[in-house]
Amino acid sequence: MERSVTMMLQLQNVSKEFGSGKSRVRTLQDINFEVNDGEIVAILGPSGCGKTTLLRIIAGLEKPSSGDVLLDGEKVEQPGPQLGMVFQEHALLPWLSVHRNVSVGLEMRGIPQEETRGRVMQYLSMVGLSDSAERFPHELSGGMRQRVAVARALTLEPKLLLMDEPFSALDFQTRRQIQQDILQVQERTGKAILMVTHSIEEAIYLADRLVLLSSRPGMVREVLKIDLDRPRDRASPLFLKSLNYVLNCLNASVAPESRKIGGTGAN
């Protein structure tokens, strides 16, 4: 029923193994799911299920042992500006001002200074930091740094924004605030977002769909559509019901193999 939406990112039987011979460990097995245009998808799973590895494979930072990652039908084989990435730790360059941190990608592309300035300010104001353009990363709070990282990832206008547990290092309140801001940014830019998180609550609050992974090897247990109106009320019965469902699903001792097929077909 979602077929009218263009499928943007597609994972086809992505597997990843580390090591060789007897010490060979399979961390990801036959991962299949897709992200549609304008959609927020969250990957959830117990720690050690390889969700960060999966995101890095999608970003092109690591190669899958087998399977393909397709972006608009083309194989992603190396990192590039078609995908924006927000890392777990902000990864801003400490010797550059906020403005230069955000503009660095545009500078590398040789975009004229005027245009660069305009675009940088546009995205900085979108994350509410236009006043901090001349400050340095160490002068900002953790939440502000992550906002800068989001602005930086957006300046090159990627097709898809990848986020690797982007708010896990932030305190509770900051986290709540930045979650709302991300939804706003997403609404304004219409960008598809694929994020990895270990917070079920965060995933249900933000995402249109959840991809639940099992651990060792990581496999898709289930893909779940979250059909709640925004802004979502974290205390609403439906929200809590989803939360419980996901919790049970992740804790389930059911052999993941038996649920794998149903999982990818769920949407």
Binding site: L61, G80, L83, G84, F87, A91, L93, P94, G105, H138
Partner: protein, 253 residues
């Protein structure tokens, strides 16, 4: 004056007093000249000393040599260090030879330097460059290897090629450590130049001046020369530190 400055002055003052007392007690200017005679040399740094040039002239000569040797060392060690830090195979290939040569004191190279380059500027520069080379190389390599993977990946995601990575991430990120290597390297180079100037065939520089003055029994000139060497060393080190504080201080944040 606060307590800390007072504390810092205690030992130097005690040494000066002990020196003066001993010089009076020993009463032999060929062993320990008194402070006044040393100060006399230091306070007229432009005066010619027994036909071998003034303190300033000789200091400039030494500085020129050390500058040249240091420049050669930096120009070789920084690119090699960056390459070794960035590409593991290159590090593997060079590791053995570097760890074999590093413990050899620069002065042990003197005979070879003389045999290959003859007496003169080239062999002195060679010795100095050897002294400065390894600290710069190792610190540069360490600095490049220590660049956060996160930074590199973040810039790579924006479509950076190796050249962009080098200019925008790796060199700036490693700059504080490269600079520290240069600071240590310059300190060693400064020690090497003085020692190299004591070699036969040299007739200028602070090292030469000290040896020359010694052969004429002018111990007050020897001591004045030593103080000058120490003083110049401190000034240059301060310069390195202040540049680090001004431009490269983001590391400590």
């Amino acid at each position: 004056m606060n307590r800390r400055t007072l504390l810092k002055l205690v030992i130097p003052l005690a040494i000066i007093m002990l020196w003066e007392a001993l010089s009076i007690f020993i009463h032999n200017q060929f062993i320990l000249p008194n402070i006044r005679s040393v100060l006399q040399v230091l306070l007229s740094p432009g005066t010619d000393i027994m036909g071998s040039g003034s303190l300033i002239e000789n200091a400039l000569m030494s500085l020129q040599r050390v500058g040249l040797g240091f420049l050669v060392a930096t120009c070789l060690a920084v690119p090699l260090g960056v390459a070794m830090g960035r590409w593991e195979p290159l590090k593997e290939a060079f590791d053995g030879i570097v760890s074999a040569l590093r413990p050899v004191p620069p002065l042990a190279w003197v005979p070879l330097a003389l045999a290959w380059l003859k007496i003169g500027l080239a062999s002195i520069v060679f010795i100095i460059a050897l002294g400065a080379f390894f600290p710069v190389l190792l610190n540069t390599m360490q600095g490049v290897r220590g660049v956060k993977k996160n930074w590199i990946e973040a810039i790579t995601m924006m479509g950076a090629k190796e050249h962009d990575l080098m200019v925008r991430v790796i060199l700036p990120a490693a700059a504080p450590e490269i600079w520290t290597g240069m600071r240590i390297g310059f300190g060693i180079a400064w020690m090497c130049v003085v020692a190299a100037e004591m070699l036969p065939g040299t007739s200028t520089g602070l090292g030469y001046l000290i040896m020359y003055a010694y052969s004429w029994g002018q111990i007050q000139v020897v001591m004045a020369g030593m103080i000058a060497i120490g003083f110049i060393g401190i000034i240059i080190d301060r310069f390195f530190v202040s540049v680090e504080r001004r431009w490269l201080s983001w590391r400590g944040l």
